[in-house]
């Protein structure tokens, strides 16, 4: 039974990429023309999920896990090999243009602005493409310029903008016509901390005030923590986890890490509350759960028992979360 307010519905979605097997050399090149042998990669392997209108969902996964491929099928860029995608009643790849009117997309790695022209001209072209009338456009432009503080560089050609400025420009361009759905593909990658903050607030505001449905793919767990209440994790083309952020945190908390250099270390490091996860020579990575084992006494014990020459604290990253979930799902020790 589908929830009636589901704006995005994905069922049994599969995408295979076929590349012809390429043998090396001149003869190989010729052979490729005649052979039917292909490398088949299942980038998306039976994905199911539904998103209700107004949700802000984080879509996580390592590189090559199938995140971008899913998004590309949702936005109509790729045609699925099999399965169903319904976005606001439309099939994205078939009703591509109508679907496009409903959505805004930001590709973190690539801009959609007109590279050689002043920023504001990109906005004007968007006004035309999305059939906005002048008064509405002016109102929205002012609002967005204000919120993202772009007034200073509206007249600057996009190619001369910094990464952070350009990213804000892309975000503004995506939201100018108030689409019902926003797809944000790594919108904070490579951007400085301050700009990241501004972008996050902007996204949160769009979701809260306008009820815009947001699907956010990211590598940055902090993006997720600040913005999302629901998370979907994909790995090797399959959904590993689909639930609340809190649930993710409690069930799969990867904790934090201490990296220590110990002089003349022999044997394992014995320290209650910690678990060794990696070792390179005299350098050891230890995992611990800060909610259960307070940091300060732990460090005290470590330095008193071992000849510590260097010590760093690290945040665990997405790799670990995914590894943990994956391990649990397949019953393997991580």
């Amino acid at each position: 039974m589908i929830a009636p307010s589901s704006i995005i519905r994905v069922s049994h979605l599969v995408k295979e990429f076929r590349t012809p097997k390429r043998a090396p050399g001149i003869l190989g090149g010729l052979r490729t023309l005649f052979t039917r042998e292909q490398n088949v990669v299942r980038a998306v392997d039976g994905v199911n999920f539904e998103i209700a209108e107004g949700e802000l969902v984080g879509y996580l996964g390592r590189n090559g896990a199938g995140k971008s491929t899913t998004i590309k099928m949702l936005t109509g860029i790729l045609v699925p090999t099999s399965g169903e995608v319904v976005v606001d009643g439309l099939t994205p790849w078939r009703d591509r243009q109508r679907n496009a009117l409903n959505i805004g997309v930001v590709f973190g790695q690539r801009t959609q602005l007109w590279w050689d022209l002043p920023l504001v001209e990109s906005f004007e072209l968007i006004r035309r493409m999305y059939r906005m009338d002048l008064p509405t456009y002016r109102g929205e432009l002012d609002r967005v310029v204000d919120l993202l503080e772009m007034g200073e560089y509206l007249r600057t050609p996009v190619r001369q903008l910094s990464l952070g400025q350009r990213m804000r420009g892309d975000l503004a361009a995506a939201i100018l016509y108030r689409p019902r759905i926003l797809y944000l593909d790594e919108p904070t990658v490579g951007v400085d901390v301050l700009a990241k903050q501004r972008i996050r607030e902007f996204i949160a505001e769009a979701n809260r005030a306008d009820g815009t449905t947001v699907l956010l793919t990211t590598h940055d767990l902090r993006d997720v923590e600040r913005l999302c209440r629901r998370i979907v994790v994909i790995e090797r083309g399959r959904i590993l986890f689909d639930g609340g952020v809190d649930e993710l945190k409690t069930k799969y908390s990867p904790g934090r890490r201490i990296v220590v250099e110990v002089a003349g270390l022999e044997g394992p490091i014995e320290l209650p509350g910690t678990e060794e996860i990696r070792r390179e020579g005299s350098r050891v990575w230890l995992r611990f759960d800060p909610t259960r084992t307070p940091i300060a006494p732990l460090i005290g014990q470590l330095t008193s028992r071992y000849a510590v020459t260097d010590l760093t604290l690290e945040e665990a990253d997405l790799e670990e979360v995914v590894r943990l979930i994956f391990a649990e799902q397949s019953g393997v020790k991580p």
Partner: protein, 265 residues
């Protein structure tokens, strides 16, 4: 129609974008002009010494050349962007265009190539000059046919370029074959094809529709249909061939677009 206005705005933006690089724009426009004029210069120098080629005088040759140039210039003007398609497909750079509420083909139209300016100038000048010195029938049907013939020429060359670009979604590398087709049209499209003998003339009519671009319409307009190997009626059908070629190319484009695989990222 709203779509027309959108396309116009995007096209204008494309031109403005190219104009940002003043020097580059001028040089490529110059390349366009020189490219076309040098070709004609050859014929001009030749005919300064010799009176005619296969019975076609310098003025008639100029008319033929100008007619083809005009069609070709319009092709490059509107569909010059097709030359970029295979590169964009390999780069996976189409994504940003596919999420816009605009047909992809119209976006291709807006990718302006500065050399088109040169082509267009060369074509207009040559054609205007030639039409003045050639005994042309200026009746309404003739002028209408002329207009349709130019349109047909644009559709033929444009259609072929579109078809080749469409293959890029499947084969990824198409500039080799684009260059080949381009070369054939550039070399054979401006000449009275009868000098090659009927075999080649037929080849360049029914296998690759080069003759329909300028030679056949020019024959019609200059009253030379009797020297054609084919039935004169076919020559009159030149514009129709354009519609057919472009129509097929458009279907191919539509059919191949779903093969787009984007990039790894």
């Amino acid at each position: 129609m709203a779509l027309a206005r959108i396309t116009l705005a995007l096209f204008a933006a494309g031109v403005r974008g190219q104009l940002q690089y003043r020097m580059n724009f001028v040089i490529w426009a110059a390349v366009g002009i020189v490219f076309q004029l040098t070709g004609f210069f050859f014929l001009w120098a030749l005919l300064a010494r010799f009176r005619s080629i296969a019975g076609w005088s310098l003025e008639e040759i100029a008319f033929l050349y100008g007619l083809r140039l005009l069609g070709h210039a319009l092709t490059v003007f509107f569909l010059g962007g097709t030359q970029l398609v295979d590169w964009l497909v390999r780069e996976g750079a189409f994504d940003r265009y596919l999420v816009r509420p605009v047909p992809l083909l119209l976006m291709v139209v807006t990718w302006f190539r500065p050399s088109a300016v040169g082509d267009l100038l060369g074509g207009i000048v040559l054609f205007a000059a030639a039409s003045r010195v050639v005994p042309l029938d200026l009746s309404l049907p003739a002028v209408a046919y002329l207009g349709l013939a130019v349109l047909g020429a644009t559709l033929i060359e444009g259609g072929l370029r579109l078809a080749i670009a469409a293959m890029a979604f499947r084969f990824l590398q198409t500039h080799g074959i684009l260059w080949f087709v381009d070369t054939i049209f550039n070399n054979f499209g401006n000449l009275p094809l009868r000098i090659f003998g009927s075999a080649v003339e037929l080849l360049l009519t029914f296998v690759l529709p080069v003759a329909f671009v300028a030679y056949l319409p020019a024959s019609v307009l200059l009253g030379r249909t009797s020297e054609l190997t084919i039935q004169p009626a076919i020559a009159y059908a030149a514009p129709l061939v354009g519609v057919i070629v472009f129509g097929l190319a458009y279907l191919l484009w539509h059919h191949e677009l779903p093969r787009y695989q984007s990039s790894g990222h």
